[in-house]
Structures are given as C-alpha cells and as structure tokens.
C-alpha cells in the first residue's frame, strides 16, 4: 500500500520526463502492433515540435501503409500519387522556400514505382528531406517482394525466397543517392531500440538544420520491420532485422556535410 501511494506522488506534472508529442493527433495509428512506422512518426513529430516548426512544415505522404499519415500528425500534409512524393515536395519547396518540407515514403513507393522521382530530386539537390522507411517488402498490399527484399527472403511473391538470378539484386537506394552531388546528408538509421530511436531523432534534427541553410537534399533511410508481412512477432521481427537487414543495409552515415561547408552556407546567409 505504501508503495502504491508513493508512486502516486511521482505522477505529477513537475516529474514528467516523457510524453508523446502534442503534434500527434488522438486518432489511433492504423499500423500493426510493433511496426516501425509508428515510432518514426513519433520522432518526426517530436523534432518538429522541439524546433517550433509546426506552423511552418509541409509533409508529403506516400502510397503504402503510411498513406494516412495526415490523420496522425497535426501538420499540413499533402498525399502524393504512388512514388511521386519527391516531385510534389519539389514544387512545394520551390513555391514556399520558407517552409520545412519532407517526404515520408516506403521502399515500394521510393525504390520501385518512384525510383525516377527519387533519383532526380536528389540529383537536382532539391532542398527537402526524404524519409525512407525500408522494411524490405510491400506492407500495405500483402507482403509482396520489393526491390529491397533481401536475397533468399520470403515474401508472398517470392515464396521460396528471392532468387537474385531471376529477380535481381536488392537495391541500395541510399548508397545510390549518396553518390549524387545534390545530396548533402545521407544516413541509414533504425528505430528498434531506445539508443537507435535517439540517434534517428538526432539525424532528423540535423536534416532540419541543413534544410534551413539550403544545403541540398537530406536523405534518411530508416531500416524498419514489417511484422505482418514478415510473419513474425514484433520482437522476433526486430531481431531478424538486426541479424539480416543490417548485414546488407549497414546502419550509419553515408554522407555528411563538411563542417566548413555548413559554416560557409551560414556566412552566405548573413
């Protein structure tokens, strides 16, 4: 009894150390239990809230499980046709350069039907942030093989595992866009442990800073899970992701602006 009363004393506003961002609406996320889409939404909302950008952000959401992102984030969000988010974001940012503009796209959206839009937006160095959720599968439509599906990985359209001779190799979009001169910050993160979530959040924060300085395209891949498509429990899916996805999609920075570049842009602004 004593402990129960003691614990009630702890639950007071002055002792609050974590609550979800106020930019998340009351609508329950439509995602499956344990899906990384939810965690990624949460940290995007946290960064935008902490940076005081709620009134000055425009997001572009894709076709895929996150097609309803506008229902979950209390921000201005435009839904784009499948794969076209970087093209739509290009127009938005060019017309409203003062806004913080980001796209949010799955691997079916970004690495299959939208490959062209992605590469050309990055090559033009559009001053936008692209958040790329790579779960190696088409989640929304029932777990079909994506360009990112790993060799040997089973999906509903590769039931014996991906045969690279017949189906091609898993596509490393992040390595591809890192080679383009238009990108300024390219990094691969994940959101499956507290440390990973904190790092991914820092990456988003950095991208906000680079976009303010007009340094070019920021590209953040989040290697994520799809417990439903992978037919695993959420805990199993995160373990499988660590053991298999990370071996091919290696977490870490692929391209960071040199400090001097960031400073030079700063001076130009002043």
């Amino acid at each position: 009894m004593k402990t129960a009363e003691g614990l009630k004393d702890i639950i007071k506003p002055e002792n609050l150390v974590y609550r979800k961002s106020s930019l998340i609406t009351d609508k329950p996320f439509s995602y499956c239990p344990g899906c990384g889409h939810g965690t990624t939404h949460r940290i995007i909302a946290e960064v935008i809230e902490e940076e005081n950008l709620a009134e000055n952000t425009i997001g572009v959401c894709p076709v895929g499980c996150s097609v309803l992102m506008y229902d979950f984030l209390d921000l201005d969000i435009q839904q784009a046709a499948h794969g076209r988010a970087p093209a739509v974001a290009t127009a938005i940012k060019r017309l409203m350069p003062e806004k913080f503009v980001f796209t949010y796209q799955g691997d079916g959206d970004l690495a299959a039907i939208g490959t062209s839009e992605t590469i050309h937006a990055c090559n033009r160095g559009e001053n936008i942030l692209i958040v790329f959720i790579n779960n190696g599968i088409y989640g929304m439509t029932g777990g079909q093989m994506a360009p990112t599906t790993l060799e040997g990985m089973k999906s509903s359209t590769s039931p014996y595992g991906r045969d690279v001779k017949m189906m091609g190799n898993p596509l490393k979009m992040t390595e591809l866009v890192a080679m383009l001169p238009g990108t300024c910050y390219v990094t691969r993160q994940s959101v499956h442990t507290p440390a990973a979530v904190r790092k991914a959040k820092k990456a988003i924060k950095k991208a906000v800073g680079y976009q303010k300085k007009g340094m070019g395209t920021c590209f953040i891949e989040i290697v994520s899970n799809c417990p439903s498509g992978w037919k695993m429990t959420p805990v199993e899916s995160n373990k499988w992701m660590e053991e298999n996805m990370f071996a091919y999609y290696k977490p870490g920075d692929l391209k960071v602006p040199a400090e001097s570049d960031a400073d030079a842009e700063n001076k130009n602004e002043q």
């Binding site: 402990t3 129960a4 003691g6 614990l7 004393d9 702890i10 639950i11 007071k12 002792n15 609050l16 150390v17 974590y18 609550r19 979800k20 961002s21 998340i24 329950p28 996320f29 995602y31 499956c32 239990p33 344990g34 899906c35 990384g36 889409h37 939810g38 965690t39 949460r42 959101v191 499956h192 442990t193 507290p194 979530v197 904190r198 417990p227 429990t233 959420p234 805990v235 995160n238």
Partner: protein
Amino acid sequence: MAKVKGSIVVDIEKCKGCELCVVTCPTKTIALAAEVNGKGYHYAYPANPELCIGCTNCATVCPDGVITVYRMKI
C-alpha cells in the same frame, strides 16, 4: 546518494500489446496483462511498479506513443 524512482502511465485502450516495451525495460517493470483491452490486445502495464527508474526506454520504443513517464529524486 540520491535515488531515483519512476512511474509509467499506459494508455491502455491505444496499446497494441506489441511487447517491445517489455523486452526493453532494464528493470522488468512491465508485463502484458492477462486481460485484453477493447481492441482485444493484451495491453502493457507496470506489473512491478516499484522497480521503475523512469529511464524512458519503454516510451522511446513504443510505436504508438502510449507510455508517459514520470521520474523524481527521493
């Protein structure tokens, strides 16, 4: 030495019972309830509330943002 005590509040109706908080909690404070919520999920709850240190790990990995964390020095 100052000790810290924590406490979590779970939005039971929004919890989907994914168990990611359970495996990330360093003090084994959290478990899934035997009962289910309105959506039929075995929701997370502080089974051993006195063990919580308010580290925020559970809330940080929760995909649905259902956990609020409090912490104080005692």
